[in-house]
Symmetry: C2
Subunit: 119 residues, 2 copies
Amino acid sequence: MYERKTMPDLNCGLDLVGEVLYGKWKIRLLWFINEGFQRPSELQRKIPGASRRVLNMQLKELESHELVGKIIYPVVPPKVEYYLTDFGKSLIPVISTIGQWGDLHDQRLRTLIEKNIQS
Amino acid sequence: MYERKTMPDLNCGLDLVGEVLYGKWKIRLLWFINEGFQRPSELQRKIPGASRRVLNMQLKELESHELVGKIIYPVVPPKVEYYLTDFGKSLIPVISTIGQWGDLHDQRLRTLIEKNIQS
DNA sequence: TCAGATAGGGATAAATTTATCTCTATTGAA
DNA sequence: TTCAATAGAGATAAATTTATCCCTATCTGA
């Protein structure tokens, strides 16, 4: 396990949100769980760019921040389901707001991002 | 200059926003510039945890994504001012929404974050 | 004249995050 | 009987991000 060497700044609400949402796949995980993709294997299929390992790690962090919960069914082959806690659900409108801004400016953003990758 | 080796996923609006806002200090920079702290030295004082170098780099990225603009006054000692473009300003309500959620859950988030740092 | 403010960049190191590969286990299907 | 699906974790490598240190320049004030 990795041990942090520097403490994060936690001044305002923005910093706090950053602490729990900062992670390459976290927002997408919350989003897809909210859409009903609850099993790890389903989430992996929805996010093929991420390795199994990293998704597990980020899910564990989301769980430790009480944004998602996990049910382990004692069956074989294993079955696990994640769900949004009430706390996690309260984030959905926020994520939705972010996504809407992105969708609204989709073309412009794509152009800008591509231009900046080549340079 | 660092050269990317992997391409980002750009499926939905959320991914696009991630590309331009993902960076330890970017949201704070946008926020403080919006609040009227426009000169690099002012921003550095507002964000003492970040090094001069990194702020410059992130400002440059924000500029390349057209969220901020930059005015260089030809004076000595040098004077530079950043400002939000209209595009950048359109992000302020989004950032505000994020910050509000964080402020609303301030105590809970702090507790959760601290608990997870020690473990 | 020397320190400090102003702005910025190169080289490099350190920290952090993400990816890859390998193992464990069990059941059902080909 | 061998392969795929299911879920998860350790060890390690690679990628990425952030920090540190040092240099350039000019003017003002002590």
